[in-house]
């Protein structure tokens, strides 16, 4: 049964007509052409499909689109697009924190949710906990962790606290 579903994606209202049990990830990629979020495990284990719903990081592969009706969804595209990149994205480039790039959009979304909540430069352990649900098969994580630290420093500098 198809149904019309309204929600907000990256601050723009959107309306799609589909089966409400289609996953949010499939809707983003197939119906809205927002292909940053990736499907890898499809079971909540790897985080490559991470998006923000009402500013909390969740796995879009396990959310049915009918469940985000009237909610606010942010994808990696909504965190920033060239030339208006977020500090996190800039830092990923500067630190070389991406290789094949499959995990990167999900990690950037998780990092965004995490840094939204902290007003200091987080410790390595805190970053590891925040990224516990995001797997990367390429980088070995150290550059990702460094990039998130660098982004936190940039955020603080911008706020004038450092």
């Amino acid at each position: 049964m198809m149904r019309k579903i309204l929600f907000t994606v990256n601050d723009a209202p959107c309306s799609i007509t589909c089966h409400p049990a289609k996953t949010l990830l499939d809707v983003l990629r197939e119906d809205l052409d927002l292909t940053a979020s990736k499907e890898c495990c499809g079971k909540g284990e790897c985080g490559s499909c991470s998006v923000l719903v009402n500013n909390e990081v969740v796995c879009s592969c396990l959310i049915l689109v009918g469940q985000v009706e009237n909610q606010n969804v942010i994808t990696c595209e909504g965190v920033g697009l060239t030339p208006h990149l977020d500090h996190i994205q800039e830092s990923f480039i500067e630190e070389g924190a991406t290789q094949c790039g499959y995990c990167t959009p999900g990690i950037i979304v998780s990092a965004k949710a995490f840094l939204n909540d902290v007003d200091y430069v987080p410790s390595v352990d805190e970053i590891k906990t925040a990224l516990g649900g995001n797997l990367c098969r390429c980088t070995g994580y150290s550059k990702i962790i460094q990039a998130i630290k660098t982004a936190a420093e940039k955020n603080l500098k911008e706020l004038g606290t450092v």
Binding site: P20, T23, E56, I63, L64, Q67, T129, G132, G133
Partner: protein
């Protein structure tokens, strides 16, 4: 019924569960609450693990539940997964369930025409099986608040730190007296039997003498005999027994260290 979907959507994708109609309860805000009234803590089934972790009332008066919620999956699962869903899945390895056992939780089950209160020990009947009737749902989780001298801990062993299903877990709640004297306590193990189990023989030893290192080691040995694990893809029965014993010992040591350092809450 689908709440956070972290179990339901996985089962749908694996082809294990394809209901004709999904009832999405995630949007029922009235069922997402944490409050204290008439001397009891009430938790709505749609409360997420993240809600539990952040709540100061629970940190103080249901510490063991907060610790258990912190061990569920990783941030994404904590944001999506609900306590009602964790109970509804009725996995023998569900992390919040042993915590709810030692806190003595009671579930409110409602249908359109009926309401009943069921103590947690009567609710689960096997892996994935509960006494919930077809048209009923969990509408409230009621727990007696811990007293100032009641302290709890949750210990979990998984294949890795985040995002892993428990190989064995244990929740402990102790009512402490002077020094290392324990006035009463409950211990519940997960993933060592078809449902969560209370370790009543271990519990009986808690109050007999002050909890010296020797007594704690003894209680660990009793646990080895009291659990009834199976071998499956995640671990062998023998390993689970050893780990149940060690986790309980470690949990008791850590709890007593906290008690000696911090005292009453």
């Amino acid at each position: 019924m689908i709440a956070g979907g972290t179990d339901a959507a996985v089962r749908m994708k694996e082809g294990k569960w394809r209901p004709e109609v999904w009832i999405n309860i995630k949007g029922i805000h009235e069922l997402r609450y944490i409050s204290e009234k008439d001397g009891a803590i009430h938790i709505g089934p749609l409360t997420t693990h993240t809600d539990i972790i952040r709540h100061t009332l629970l940190q103080k008066k249901a510490d063991v539940l907060v610790e258990a919620a912190r061990e569920v999956g990783a941030i994404q699962m904590q944001n999506m997964g609900t306590i009602g869903g964790n109970i509804g899945t009725a996995s023998p390895a569900g992390d919040t369930i042993p915590a709810l056992y030692v806190l003595g939780a009671v579930f409110e089950l409602r249908s359109i025409t009926s309401v009943r209160l069921v103590p947690i020990e009567e609710f689960f009947i096997g892996p994935g099986k509960t006494i919930l009737k077809k048209k009923e749902m969990i509408t409230n989780i009621i727990i007696p608040p811990q007293k100032a001298n009641e302290i709890g801990i949750f210990q979990k062993l998984g294949p890795r730190k985040a995002q892993s299903i428990s190989i064995v877990n244990v929740a402990i709640s102790l009512l402490m007296g002077k020094d290392r004297k324990c006035l009463g306590g409950k211990i519940a193990f997960g993933a060592v039997a078809p449902t969560i189990i209370r370790a009543k023989k271990c519990e009986a030893l808690l109050t007999q003498q002050p909890l010296t290192d020797e007594i704690i080691q003894n209680i660990g040995k009793i646990a080895w005999k009291e659990v009834m694990p199976i071998t499956d893809g995640r671990a062998t029965a023998a390993y689970r027994r050893d780990m149940a014993s060690s986790l309980l010992e470690r949990g008791l040591y850590r709890l007593l260290r906290r008690w000696e350092n911090d005292g009453e809450k």
